[in-house]
């Protein structure tokens, strides 16, 4: 049995929608609607989907930035939803850190790099100034920056370097899990490879787990050990990255892959066969009946709009689709 660090069980997050002066409840936005996933120690799980699929809400729930409507999170086998706030502060929050998408807005422009990286240490530990300083220099070295960078301000760095600073800050407390929300999508193409390689190296050196939120499938394939494909608040397919990309089962996964794969055009035959989905993702306020994907699915038939597909395990992956009944 594999070593599971963090597990989300039936996570649900509904946002109430109110209307009028009396704020009458008119419905719920079902941002995350019963998803389960697990992150193994030293491995990477990616949540993939288009905007509005609920992937960021799920990540925020793991970071305890959102209060779940229902469901629970297990960390090293313990249900953290039953933790008191002091227990959380001692045993959970320092061990789960985050790197945000945009390195231009995730740092205080008026703080020096050394203070930015030291902040988690100052808040969570009682180390002396010398100890903190030593640790900051160690962290700068780990992410490939120079000791003299410590005295500078964020605006003096390029996007890739800032993302390195954000990674250094996340590493400061020796976390077991880092939540990476679109860690490279704000960066230039040539810089993305540098940051992805850095993250992989750090994972190997420190045995850290990553929960990656991403929409770029090629990035996900390169970074992940397992992948969950999300659509409208649900996970439609989940499995080991290699198997899932070699043999995608769900029509949505296939469409996503087809939309992002780089196909070199053949001579005199410019048309690359691509699955083009019709329409857009429906509103999570009022999701379609049955399978939520049936309104855009190229393979849908009668049953799809009537019955919710059940989870079907096939090899190392599982899928929710009536095609496999």
């Amino acid at each position: 049995m594999s070593d599971i660090l963090l597990e989300g069980r039936d996570l649900v997050k509904h946002y109430p929608v109110t209307q009028g002066l009396l704020r009458k409840l008119v419905g719920y936005v079902r941002a995350v609607d019963g998803i389960s996933f697990s992150v193994e120690r030293g491995k990477t799980l990616s949540l993939v989907g288009e905007s509005g699929a609920g992937k960021t809400t799920a990540a925020r729930a793991v970071l305890l930035l959102e209060k779940l409507t229902s469901g629970c999170i297990f960390f090293e086998g313990q249900n953290i939803c039953q933790f008191s706030s002091s227990q959380l502060k001692a045993d959970y929050r320092p061990r789960v850190q985050a790197v945000q998408q945009n390195p231009w807005s995730s740092m205080n422009p008026r703080m020096r790099v050394r203070d930015i990286i030291a902040e988690p240490l100052v808040v969570n530990t009682r180390q002396s100034k010398q100890q903190v300083r030593k640790r900051v220099l160690e962290l700068l070295d780990q992410v490939g920056l120079m000791p003299e960078h410590a005295e500078r301000y964020p605006h003096e760095f390029s996007g890739g370097q800032r993302q390195r600073i954000a990674v250094a800050r996340a590493l400061a407390l020796h976390p077991s899990l880092i939540v990476l929300d679109e860690p490279v999508s704000a960066l230039d193409v040539s810089i993305r490879a540098q940051i992805m390689n850095l993250l992989k190296d750090l994972q190997d050196q420190h045995n850290i787990s990553y929960l990656v939120i991403a929409h770029n499938l090629a990035t996900v394939r390169y970074m992940s050990h397992s992948v969950a494909i999300m659509y409208l608040g649900e996970i439609v397919e989940y499995g080991e990255a290699e198997a899932l990309f070699e043999q995608p089962l769900h029509p949505y996964t296939r469409a996503l892959i087809s939309a992002s794969v780089l196909t070199v055009p053949e001579e005199n035959d410019r048309e690359v066969t691509q699955i083009i989905l019709k329409g857009e993702m429906p509103s999570p306020l009022n999701p379609p009946s049955g399978c939520r994907f049936h309104t855009r699915c190229p393979c849908a038939w009668d049953i799809c709009s009537q019955e919710v597909p059940q989870k079907k395990v096939m090899g190392t992956q599982w899928v929710r689709c009536h095609l496999y009944d």
Binding site: S51, V189, Q194, Y222, L262, V264, Q274
Partner: protein, 326 residues
């Protein structure tokens, strides 16, 4: 695609005049686009892709930015010789541009129908009834469902994909000869991006518009472009037909850029990453601009800038390696 050349850019030089002196953002760029053809311009941020687009449509931020040399020929007439007034006749009618973020290119307080009608009223002498008909036919061209109903919608009522279609509708409303698309799909989701690109391929077949497609995404290039120009630090370092570029890239920058992008269709153990960053255009080193990041330079690369060499049908490369006799 016909053989008629719509846009011919010859030896374009664009500079920005700053406190630090003249910064040569575009330094001798030449290319052409045929009727019904899509030319992709690819490169990192800051290499001059967008400034190339803005130079063609003459919307550089004045007075800092200025075209200081070269020719931009649209159907044979030089755009740089036109007065501002004449240029306004061209802009929106013969040349149009689509920008990356639809929310900032649409006016939030006008319904989309009015915004599309604006350029039709300005450039074509039509009665109000005919303008409305044209607006609806343009919305249909962009496959916007139920166009009559949508006319009165405001940008905030539309999804990101629909908004970008409206921007496309404004650009196509006068059936231009040339469309400059500056990262039009970067802000869109993968499946919506695929829809948008498929749509533009159809529109190009129907109208024969020439497209200059600025992007940093090789996937998009492979999908929509007939030819590609790779830009680095204000110069085109390699240009080739799309298939040729992917099968037989020659410039070390093109190769490095391609290898640093992860592939979806195969497992990659370790990505190649280009070291360092593009040089500052304000003080360029002599010799080849890519030299500090080049993995395999020759001894004289730092002395002189490489000259362009044609190495195949519509394939040329600016790298000293190409000039070595074997």
């Amino acid at each position: 695609m016909s053989d008629r050349i719509v846009l011919q850019v010859e030896n374009l030089h664009t500079s920005f005049f700053t406190r630090l002196g003249e910064v040569k953002v575009i330094d001798g760029v030449s290319f052409y686009v045929r009727e019904g053809e899509t030319l992709g311009i690819v490169g990192e941020s800051g290499c001059g892709k967008t400034v190339t687009g803005l130079s063609i449509i003459r919307l550089l931020p004045e007075p800092a930015g200025k075209v200081v040399g070269g020719k931009i020929l649209l159907d044979g007439s030089d755009l740089l010789k036109l007065s501002q007034k004449e240029m306004r006749e061209y802009r929106g009618k013969k040349i149009t541009m689509i920008l990356q973020d639809p929310m900032t290119s649409l006016n939030p307080v006008y319904p989309i129908g009015d915004q599309i009608a604006e350029s039709i009223r300005l450039h074509r002498n039509l009665s109000e009834g005919e303008v409305l008909k044209e607006v609806i036919s343009t919305l249909k061209l962009l496959r916007i469902p139920a166009p009559q109903m949508r006319l009165r919608d405001y940008p905030f009522q539309l999804s990101g994909g629909m908004r970008q279609r409206v921007v496309g509708a404004i650009a196509m409303s006068c059936r231009p000869r040339l469309l400059i698309a500056d990262e039009p799909t970067t802000a869109l989701d993968a499946t919506i991006q695929a829809q948008y690109i498929a749509l533009f391929k159809e529109i190009q077949r129907e109208t024969g518009v020439a497209i200059v497609f600025i992007t940093h995404d090789f996937g998009v290039i492979a999908n929509i472009c007939h030819r590609v120009a790779v830009m680095y630090a204000g110069k085109i370092v390699e240009t080739a037909r799309t298939r040729e570029l992917f099968k037989n890239p020659q410039h070390p920058y093109t190769i490095a850029l391609m290898e640093s992008v992860p592939r979806l269709d195969q497992k990659t153990d370790r990505l190649y990453s280009i070291q360092g960053q593009p040089p500052s255009l304000a003080n360029l080193p002599p010799g080849c601009r890519f030299l500090p990041r080049c993995s395999d330079p020759l001894d004289f690369c730092h002395e002189r800038e490489p000259e362009e060499k044609v190495i195949g049908d519509e394939h040329s490369v600016s790298c000293w390696r190409m000039w070595r006799t074997n």
